[in-house]
Symmetry: C2
Subunit: 692 residues, 2 copies
């Protein structure tokens, strides 16, 4: 038994969150104090900031009425507390997006200027900008859920927080994903391919939109994605914790833990991971260095080691020193280990240091089709070790907790705890990730302001690292989405069984409702991907028209004598991306509700499972195919083959990969989780009118 | 109650099969009697025939020891009868492949010669060649299963027939798929793209290999695929039929039918469809015509109408005139209707008459990346109506049979009967499909022998129709694979429950075994696709080297003065395709066995379901993306844009689509079914040593 009551556990979580937010603030201040460089640099930075703000403002203007409508609907169907929770989840998610956006823009220009002081300083500036985002986001998720739980100490009554997080994440992640790639594709299609000016050339009217896109999609998008995973996983573990004691009691058994202990345990795991992330983030300082990947790796290893140690301590304190407690601790170890394993797998398939990307690079000599197929193959193939890592984590964390407790639900709780331990490292993972778009943008600014060879060399170096960290974080985000969803599906099944006690709910593969659900769910990732990629295509085509128009109307732009109309391009990308988002968003929200109302909770459970099954592999395939093409292009460039036919082929591969890795792939994470949060919040209306 | 016993039912099936085989024979004789044209034409035909035989001989030489080993393993684990059934299934499948190959080659050269007599005669020659294949294959499947059932009147004891069919199908379908696309890709990469000679130019050393590939992949492959679906579906329906009476009795209810009636009912549905197909096939005659699609459509409609009528008759005769019988008849109607619905959906997404392909064609003006993405989008999007069609068929056929019987297992039997009714039209569907590769090859022969503008116009016309029928049959094959697998998964769950009576088998989405199975199964289609596409790429690269070598060593080849070494290219493509097949084949056979032995039948059920869920959508996406790119290229050509930049882009799209639509996509059908047949045959050894 714990020595502490609820009060102290929550206090621990609040202390960790506040400390994390304070450090994030301090890092933001540190970044702000760095020099922003020349007036030209600040001008560009301001243009990007203005564009990014315009995008977010427009998104929020559209989301707000939808969110209010949803808050009312949730309050009416699932209680006022859920409505409040929804509001908190959505508001914090919006704030997280805003912070990510603002600090990324700020840090980018300062990192560009820091190149004058050397690699170490540039890295530290970019990393601390990233850490501001990385530390703030899980802290807000943790403090938000903790506060809600203190207000309403019954997890199911605050499940709305998940739907709030998911909705905003969908808009920022998928909307941002369309925006960023439409801008990128449009800029490249005309700039690089048609008129042959380099990337980030200020003569390209879509350059600023492209830079805004890096912030919108990569920084704000990834932030809201992980924020969502964090909340959904935490919530699922808490829901399962709340269910265990009563279920065990109904079987005539007793458990040495109270409900409260099992509910707060995942919260405290989150707090432990956050403290570990803080310490890890502090190890990156502006010292001299040659390999910028090293300090990032050290930061992660420090965080992971501390997380494991702290998890051991909090397990014995919050729970006890019984065999079952140690089994749950073992599950947290599995979760922590999964992070570097997934990162290593993703790195292998997407970095030009290894065979797969090298082969894609070499395939360019055979032409477009071969390069295209080589990228597809790599992405498809990478799903195998990814699946094995997830299955082993699930199987081991289930096996240890089930074998000691003898209760399947505790085994499932064990898998949710493993997922939570994985997510608890979000602080350091996101810090390292957010470093990516900052260094990318810093490189853009160096390019646009023609700062010089040496500065460009430094930003190229950190940009290469940033590309790797961005790619591996995608793997983390997909795995976390999958585990979050799998935990939530279990919570959903039990909640539905609790609510519909008068119905026999058979979640079996021989129930046609489940089969229909699986088919519908299995379809959704495929169909929604098509919507999102075509959204990119359509938006990009509109941008292409606009860029061509500007070049044609004012030949001075290409000559470098007059300034292109950046704002117009941003405006087109914004309106197009929001427009393209509606259909997928409505399908995602509506399908579990419609299926639940018509066929009942068993069909919904099938739908949720089907979406995870096809969704995580499709997402991983798309993320890794895209990442691999991107780095195959870099590989060709490193071989000194710029401006060859092979490079041209590789550029096309990269163009194709963009919507894969930055739009459809990551958006699927959000879709998978949104389906689950909608299902759990609306479970009480899933009567199932038809019973086939 | 039936007026007839087992004897007459089987007799009906045998009569239909023999009639169908006789008609197939007569058509083959008719085709054989047509003129084979000039000596040059016969030479080419002979080269293709020799190449095709070389491919098949080599395949059989490798399969035979594997098949013998498997027959022994099956006999030992699942009884001698299953071993015999396996042998029958495999042997008939091999014969079906041989027939398809031989007649396709024979008919192609005669259809080419028939162009001298006009469109009507060409169509009839190509169609009757196709009908030989189309009528022989389901007849052999039906007569094989009927004979086995007469020998061993217990369906589970002859389940091995499914594994035999599946194994050969995998080798012919997937091995042939790699062969055909490697040959095609290799020939195009050097011929069209590098040296700029047209398709089917006899100067290209890989031309004959490419032609052989059309026979191997399209004709033999599709034939063995549908043969496999037919057998698996029939078997699943019979297995379910055998289970119903005892299950219903165990609930204290009685059913007006005997086990035997429910087992022979699907056989008789198959016989009815075969008779309907025969009559439909006879409507295509060498008369005057302008639109070659029309007589094919008429043939199908006639068959479908007759099938529905006959199904009504056999339902009342074999079963009775009760409401439940009519409900089962309604399920057969759903199955028959599904065929044109799936065909229409597939046609919409892959024919240049409609918006999707036109848009892909127009995207070529934006360059390679846009065309690529447009094709991906179309394929992904097409999964939505496809899913709806399948779900509605399943839901309605379940609902009508369940609502009248009140028994879920009868509802599931209803869905299997719908699937069987769909497959019962395989005769006419395959006839129309096999027409495709024949007209394709006829076009090739006309081109290679420079027969003249008018002849080429006729073959172009029937080739366009053939492309459509090939594309829509892919949709049929995927849907039939999905339905066959879904029926088999149900049979598997019940068989396992019958065998492991001492175990509680919970096939629930909250069972971690099921979840692990779903994850592993969901992965397989993605991973195996990567293996197959990379197999094509590797084999094609080896061919490219060879073609380049020949062009370099002997400049007379391109000048047209010396003959290239066709045999060498065929040999390379054959050995490469077989080599690339081993890993996917072993993974497919081993994964259900390993999972079953380690984790037990619930994990296997999860695996089977996971593979269907991700597999059918991935297969449909790949088939339709590929088909759409192919026809987008044709669309560009029809617009008169040959030799423009846009056409070049479209050619690349087609190249990328080839392994999608002709290798990975169709192979997934076979993988999905092979997993199921392996699972049902080896079910008795799935103890599940570990129980997590």
């Amino acid at each position: 038994m714990s020595l502490f009551g609820l009060g102290l556990d929550s206090t621990l979580s609040i202390i960790a969150s506040v400390a994390s937010l304070a450090l994030a603030g301090a890092m933001a201040v540190w970044v702000g104090k760095q020099s922003g460089g020349t007036e030209q640099m600040m001008d560009i930075s301001k243009a990007v900031r203005t564009g990014a703000s315009a995008f977010l403002r427009r998104e929020f203007r559209i989301i707000t009425p939808i969110a209010i409508g949803l808050a009312v609907a949730i309050s009416l169907t699932s209680g006022f507390s859920n409505g409040v929770a929804f509001g908190v989840g959505a508001a914090l998610s919006g704030i997280a997006g805003l912070i990510a956006m603002k600090i990324t823009v700020k840090a980018a220009v300062r990192a560009a200027q820091a190149t004058t002081k050397g690699l170490g300083h540039t890295l530290a500036t970019a990393f601390r900008g990233g850490a501001t985002v990385g530390l703030a986001i899980p802290a807000m998720a943790l403090i938000g859920v903790t506060a809600l739980y203190m207000l309403y100490p019954e997890p199911i009554t605050i499940a709305g927080v998940g739907i709030g997080a998911s909705l905003i994440a969908l808009f920022i992640r998928a909307g941002g994903g369309i925006f960023t790639k439409a801008a990128d594709l449009g800029a490249d299609l005309v700039g690089k391919v048609e008129v042959g000016i380099p990337e980030d050339d200020p003569r390209n009217p879509a350059t600023i939109a492209d830079n805004v896109g890096d912030n919108v999609g990569d920084a704000a998008g990834m932030g809201s994605d992980v924020y969502e995973s964090y909340i959904v996983t935490l919530l699922a573990a808490m829901l399962l914790g709340a269910l265990i004691v009563s279920e065990v009691a109904s079987k005539g058994l007793t458990l040495p833990f109270t409900s409260t202990q099992l509910i707060v345990y995942p919260i405290v795991i989150g707090a432990a991971g956050l403290i570990a992330s803080i310490i890890g983030a502090l190890t990156v300082t502006p010292r001299k260095m040659t390999d910028p990947m090293k300090p990032l790796n050290v930061a992660f290893i420090v965080s992971a080691a501390i997380a494991i140690t702290l998890n051991f301590v909090v397990t014995t304190v919050i729970l006890d020193s019984s065999a079952l407690s140690y089994a749950l601790f073992a599950a947290t170890v599995m979760g922590v280990i999964l992070v570097p394993v997934i990162q290593r797998i993703t790195d292998y398939y997407t970095s030009y240091k290894y065979k797969p990307v090298k082969e894609i690079g070499e395939s360019t000599q055979w032409g477009y089709a071969s390069n295209m197929l080589a990228g597809i193959i790599t992405g498809l193939r990478s799903t195998m070790p990814f699946m094995l890592a997830i299955v082993i984590t699930l199987a081991v964390s289930y096996a240890v907790t089930f074998s000691i407790s003898g209760d399947p639900l505790i085994g499932i709780y064990g898998t949710a705890i493993a997922a939570m331990a994985m997510l608890s490292l979000a602080g350091i993972v996101l810090s390292i990730d957010s470093f990516g778009p900052i260094s990318d943008n810093a490189g853009g600014i160096v390019e646009m302001t023609s700062m010089g060879e040496e500065n460009r060399r430094i930003t190229d170096q950190i940009d290469a690292v940033g590309n790797t960290t961005k790619a591996v974080t995608k793997g983390f985000a997909i795995a976390s989405a999958g585990l979050a969803a799998l935990a939530m599906i279990q919570a959903f099944q039990h909640e539905a069984a609790n609510i519909f006690v008068n119905k026999v709910l058979v979640y079996s593969l021989s129930n046609p409702n489940v089969i229909i659900g699986l088919l519908v769910g299995g379809l959704l990732p495929f169909f929604i991907s098509s919507q999102l990629i075509s959204g990119v295509n359509r938006a990009a085509m509109r941008l292409v028209d606009e860029i061509r128009r500007q070049f044609k109307q004012d030949p001075g732009i290409l000559a470098g004598t007059s300034k292109p109309d950046y704002a117009k391009c941003i405006d087109i990308a914004t309106s197009a991306s929001i427009k393209q988002l509606f259909k997928p968003a409505i399908i995602t929200v509506a399908s579990p509700i419609v299926l639940g109302v018509v066929l009942g909770p068993t069909a919904v459970a099938g739908l949720l499972m089907g979406a995870v099954i096809s969704g995580i592999f499709l997402a991983y395939h798309m993320a890794n195919s895209g990442g691999a093409w991107d780095n195959a292009k870099k590989y060709i460039e490193i071989l000194g083959k710029k401006k060859t036919q092979e490079h041209e082929v590789a550029v096309v591969g990269d163009l194709i990969g963009d919507p894969y890795k930055d739009t459809a792939g990551p958006a699927l994470n959000t879709v998978i989780k949104l389906l689950n949060t909608v299902a759990i919040v609306f479970v009480s209306i899933f009567f199932g009118f038809v019973n086939i």
